[in-house]
């Protein structure tokens, strides 16, 4: 069993954890978005409430939730440990840094990651905790969403969400293709396709998420 510890505490093993959990979370974003798109159906929230009720009561979803939380935790904890190690690897910095070097989005992964983590806590508190802990009997999930984006934070809750999605887009733009590189999947034929797919994904998915608060704030009529 020594090989397990050696592999996953090595630099490349840690990259493997980042990339596997990252790809898992990328997949989760798609399923989450597909459910959220029900918010755009013009039925005053019937479909979305039905879906949300299933999501909060189904035992299968409960089990998957544990896996999801584990995915987040591994990604976050591993990311923090790597960032600390990386900071320590250059105790004395440069006086002058010039920027021909790397791709823009790749430079701020710990920072965008940290912001997304703060966003995540606020997001879970606004919706999951509200319906599971604070008001367990409240089944009007649609009402909670529309109220939050129309009135929350003195009318600025929606803007926080849009900002979070912009930073998520930055994080995904590097993260998507980086996950493949870490797995050793760099190929003359396929890497350009992966990069294009990653760029598209990092724009389309956060934009679709961001459309929700924008819709409720500016286009929704009760």
């Amino acid at each position: 069993m020594g090989w397990l510890k050696e592999t996953f505490t090595s630099s490349i093993g840690r990259k493997l954890i980042m990339s596997i959990t990252g790809l898992f979370l990328i997949g989760f974003l798609l399923t989450h978005l597909s459910g959220n798109l029900l918010l755009f159906i013009q039925d005053q929230g019937v479909a979305f409430n039905e879906y949300s009720k299933f999501m909060s009561t189904s035992p299968i979803i409960r089990v998957l939730e544990v896996v999801l939380v584990a995915g987040f935790l591994f990604h976050i904890v591993d990311g923090i440990m790597l960032s600390i190690k990386n900071k320590k690897s250059r105790p004395v910095g440069y006086k002058k840094r010039s920027g021909s070097e790397s791709s823009f989005f790749s430079k701020f992964m710990p920072q965008t990651g940290l912001f997304i983590f703060i966003y995540l806590i606020i997001h879970i508190n606004s919706f999951t905790i509200k319906h599971r802990v604070v008001e367990p009997g409240n089944l009007d999930f649609y009402g909670t969403v529309s109220d939050a984006f129309r009135y929350g934070w003195g009318g600025f809750y929606w803007a926080f969400y849009v900002l979070a999605m912009v930073l998520l887009a930055f994080h995904l733009n590097h993260g998507f293709q980086s996950a493949f590189q870490s797995l050793g999947l760099n190929h003359k034929k396929y890497s350009p396709i992966i990069k294009t797919l990653g760029s598209l994904y990092s724009i389309v998915v956060p934009a679709a998420f961001a459309a929700i608060p924008v819709y409720f704030r500016f286009f929704y009529t009760a």
Binding site: W3, E6, T7, S10, S11, I12, G13, R14, K15, L16, L82, K85, N86, K88, S89, R90, P91, V92, G93, Y94, K95, K96, R97, S98, G99, S100, E101, S102, S103, S106, K107, M109, H174, Q177, S178, Q181, S182, L183, G184, L185, N186
Partner: protein, 248 residues
């Protein structure tokens, strides 16, 4: 050419070090960067000051001895050259040039611009070699190697071990160097005997030297004087994961 040089001065590895500013009136655009430093040192010596220590050997970009961060870029503003191949024509008359050593925990500063790169030697000792039968040399081209594979191996073998990849990386990671060595030998038939053990041992040695981790930013390949691609890092990841997880 008139130049203002801001140079990192550090007496030894214990010294804290600081920047000193010098002016140089008699540089010209035909000089190499190291020749310009030679002129500066001549001036400092005549003034009874300690000359600036810097590493160099072949001065034609093949030995990997030289290297410093010039105006924020490892090996300076030119593309695909080591510091010794950089020419002063790449600078403007009257320009201020900031010269710093490689900065990394794995490369402690010994004096001024000279860093201790023996970490790279230790990584090589861990597995950067092949075993061969001694005796008379075999005929050239006895072992058929497809051109594409030979080219790819050669693109990794171009690495001169200068350490610019570590200096450029925001995490001071040595992955491009180690990947170049692993990739070069893993591609060729001569490297097959130690293939799985080599990558594990070299990565372990790299981790022990205190280099940071790779976050796939690509800064290393942008500054590498030999344009070594991060494709080789992907190959090393692949080699490592299959050696650790898939092999018996």
């Amino acid at each position: 050419m008139k130049l203002t040089l801001e140079v990192w001065r550090q007496k030894n590895s214990e010294d804290k070090g600081k920047f000193e500013t010098y002016t140089l009136d008699n540089a010209n655009e035909h000089m190499s960067f190291l020749e310009m430093l030679d002129v500066l040192n001549e001036k400092l010596t005549k003034e009874g000051k300690d000359p600036v220590a810097f590493s160099h050997d072949c001065r034609e970009g093949i030995c990997g001895s030289c290297g410093c961060v010039i105006n924020g870029r490892p090996h300076g503003p030119d593309e695909e050259v080591a510091t010794c191949q950089l020419h002063m024509r790449k600078f403007e008359d009257g320009q201020k040039i900031t010269i710093e050593p490689w900065r990394a925990k794995g490369f402690p500063v010994l004096k001024d611009l000279v860093v201790d790169r023996s970490a790279f030697d230790r990584i090589m000792h861990a597995g950067g070699f092949i075993t061969v039968s001694t005796g008379s040399a075999v005929d050239a081209n006895l072992m058929p190697i497809p051109k594409a594979i030979a080219d790819e191996a050669f693109s990794a073998a171009n690495c001169i071990g200068c350490g610019a990849c570590v200096a450029a990386c925001k995490n001071a990671s040595a992955m491009l160097f180690v990947a170049a060595k692993v990739s070069h030998l893993a591609l060729l038939p001569q490297g097959q005997a130690e293939k799985t053990e080599r990558v594990k041992k070299m990565v372990k040695a790299m981790d022990q030297e205190g280099f940071g981790n790779c976050t796939n930013t690509g800064a290393c390949e942008a500054e590498c004087p030999k344009s070594i691609s991060i494709r080789h890092i992907a190959r090393m990841n692949r080699e490592y994961l299959s050696a650790s997880i898939a092999s018996e």
